[in-house]
């Protein structure tokens, strides 16, 4: 087994941004290095105009990112954003990337011309030691004192001139989220870029050298920095409640419970609006176009398929509004702290919380985020369980089935039953990830649990612009998928559902004679024990590409089928065709099913082996079949 850190591949957008090859070689290479959660990515976004994800906890950036910036004098700079680190003594794969870029050891990379050491101005204790360590490399450096507005507000007194003198480098104050101080920072970078420098061979410091560096950092800190006379105790006071072993967990559960209730109740009006817009569009096309193949493609294939997925955009945006608010405020790091004991009991490393949290959006960043874990077995366990966390692609499937089969009524007087079922599905995803982690780590790969250390960030008011940008980005990603992969696949599904046409004198719906009908009926014997119909079998095949495609495929298949009960909203159509036991079995299937080709691809890339995607696919498929089988038969026994 070998785990390798893949080289970051530039995306098409990155290539498009690099306007000319000559520019690439002429531009100054500037690396952003600093402790985790000091605002490096926010600074990168401010300098380059990029929109990389930022959040108020450590470990968000796990790979090298690159962008172009222009200095006030017009010079081009290639800015590299790197994962956070406390030292060049790298242990985890993400820290290795930072060390190798800083030292110019990364294959195909020249060392940076200038290093910007980014510091959180309210938390300078550890960064000064890193600055001293980076100085050993001998490259020109600038210290960016980020979040300076918060430091001023809290009453920190920093003698910038003295600090600059002690460290022998320019010190510039910045507020990355407001883009303040960018021109001064770029001017400082330009001013040091021409300075003569030596590059002595770096070697890992000994314990004595580290102690000496720490003592020197402490001396500089005491000389140049005076803490506030009235320290801000808000974070401490909030933490005494939010990190309480009983009250804290109860608050975390209440927050999650409220989030899923809101996802269901707040999203309903915009969802109804989108649904009626697609219905009107379909009616309009039916009135304008003569009956024929093209009209069927547009109405039954494209509008029914893509429209049935697009109605879930409001729910996805509301869910991400909550997730980003919790991340930006600093509460998510507390959730990691609260979950550590439970995760440790299940054999998962404490640092696995952040990758698993990212997996709520999509398993891909979650699997990549596992690079923050240095132990190979812990990292691999996290990669194996990450796809079990409920990603946003499952939302359309869950919501469709819940709205079709779970009555929209209140329980206990205040909670929506639909929201409660959604909460239960998310909880099942988390519990199954913990259970698989337990089996892997406690039975197959026994080993001592490693301690989990994470700096808890101070609570902050979420930045409205960052929140809005994050929510819009998630919405845009979903709409883009609907307009590209899902649209193309629905056209293919429509074709397979319409061709060949029914023979003369046929009495059954046309789809029964089509390729899709043949495939569905061929697979039906395999899926009948778990209660799935042949239409579900047809939807599951394109659904292998991405989970939400299955919803669109169901929309297209039932629209092409026509007949009684096949018109109107898809939820109503499913209610007319499926038993409750079938619906519950499909929900159980989707909690576990490995229906995402991109996730399997990224597991291959991260582990550099086909073994692990295959293991993931097989174990998830077995769990999905077993769960759907058990659910279907138990539900039938209860008369569902």
């Amino acid at each position: 087994m070998s785990l390798q850190v893949p080289e970051a591949q530039p995306s098409v957008a990155d290539i498009a941004n690099d306007t000319a090859a000559t520019q690439r070689t002429a531009a100054l290479r500037v690396a952003l290095i600093g402790n985790p959660n000091c605002g490096k990515t926010a600074l990168f976004n401010a300098l380059t105009g990029a929109r990389q994800k930022v959040a108020n906890y450590a470990g968000v950036t796990v790979e090298r990112k690159e962008g172009l910036a222009q200095s006030p004098s017009g010079a081009m700079l290639r800015v590299l954003d790197l994962p956070g680190t406390y030292s060049l003594r790298a242990r985890s794969p993400d820290e290795v990337v930072t060390r190798d870029v800083a030292l110019g050891r990364l294959e195909g990379e020249t060392p940076p011309d200038v290093m910007i050491c980014v510091a959180d101005a309210t938390n300078l204790r550890l960064v000064l030691r890193l600055v001293l360590e980076l100085k050993q490399i001998g490259r020109p450096m600038v210290l960016a004192m980020n979040m300076y507005d918060i430091a001023e507000r809290q009453g920190w007194s920093i003698d910038l001139a003295r600090l600059s003198q002690e460290l022998a480098m320019p010190v510039v104050t910045t507020v990355a989220t407001r883009r303040r101080g960018m021109d001064k920072l770029l001017a400082a970078v330009e001013s040091v870029s021409g300075a003569a420098h030596e590059s002595p061979a770096w070697r890992e410091p000994s314990a004595a050298e580290l102690r000496a560096a720490h003592a020197e950092a402490e001396r500089i800190r005491k000389t140049c920095i005076r803490p506030p006379s009235h320290p801000d105790t808000l974070t401490g006071r909030l933490d005494s409640v939010l990190l309480h072993p009983v009250v804290g967990v109860a608050i975390l559960l209440a927050v999650l419970f409220f989030m899923f209730q809101a996802v269901f109740s707040w999203a309903q009006p915009p969802m109804d609006l989108i649904k009626s817009a697609f219905d009107h569009l379909s009616t309009l096309i039916t009135q304008v176009m003569p009956d024929g193949v093209l009209r069927s493609l547009i109405c039954d294939g494209i509008i029914s398929g893509v429209g049935s997925v697009l109605v879930f955009v409001p729910q996805i945006m509301i869910l991400f509004l909550f997730i980003i608010l919790l991340e930006d405020s600093g509460y998510m790091a507390r959730a990691a702290f609260l979950m550590d004991k439970i995760m440790g009991g299940a054999g998962l490393h404490g640092r696995a919380f952040i990758p698993l949290l990212s997996s709520f959006a999509c398993a891909i960043p979650g699997i990549m985020g596992a690079r923050v874990i240095d132990n190979k077995r812990d990292r691999l366990t996290t990669i194996l369980v990450a796809p079990l966390m409920t990603c946003s692609a499952r939302i359309p499937v869950y919501t469709l089935i819940i709205s079709a089969f779970v009555p929209n009524r209140a329980v206990w007087g205040f909670a929506s039953l639909q929201g409660l079922v959604m909460f239960g599905l998310y909880a099942t995803g988390i519990l199954s990830a913990l259970a698989v982690g337990f089996v892997v780590r406690k039975i197959f790969w026994r080993g001592a649990a490693e301690p989990f250390l994470m700096e808890l960030p101070a609570y902050k008011r979420p930045d409205a612009k960052n929140v809005a940008m994050g929510v819009l980005t998630r919405g845009k990603i979903f709409v883009k998928r609907a307009g590209t992969v899902i649209l193309a696949m629905m056209i293919v599904v429509w074709f397979l559902s319409s061709v060949p046409g029914p023979p003369p004198g046929a009495t059954e719906p046309a789809i029964n004679y089509s390729f899709a009908g043949m495939i569905g009926h061929g697979l039906e014997p395999l899926l009948r024990p778990i209660g799935f119909t042949w239409q579900i079998a047809v939807a599951l095949i394109p659904g292998m590409a991405a989970r939400e495609v299955a919803v669109a495929a169901l929309g297209t298949v039932y629209a092409v089928s026509g007949g009684e009960g096949a018109t109107g909203p898809l939820a109503g159509v499913l209610h007319a065709h499926w038993s409750l036991a079938t619906a519950m079995a499909l929900l159980a299937w989707y909690v576990f099913a490995p229906q995402c080709a991109a996730t399997l691809g990224v597991i291959k890339r991260e582990t550099n082996s086909w073994t692990w995607p295959l293991v993931t696919f097989v174990y998830m498929l077995v769990l999905a079949y077993a769960a759907a089988f058990a659910t279907y038969h138990i539900a039938q026994a209860f008369g569902a």
Partner: protein
């Protein structure tokens, strides 16, 4: 007749796109796009 021709051209394009997007490795796609852009 015209409807059928247009519909099946759309189907052919969609099939080609699905093959390109799902079955051609990302590296090959990225390299090809980069080469095309350089040529332009």
């Amino acid at each position: 007749m015209v409807q059928a021709v247009v519909a099946y051209i759309i189907v052919a394009l969609a099939c080609a796109w699905v093959v390109w997007r799902l079955f051609v490795p990302r590296k090959i796609r990225t390299d090809l796009i980069a080469r095309l852009q350089r040529r332009r």
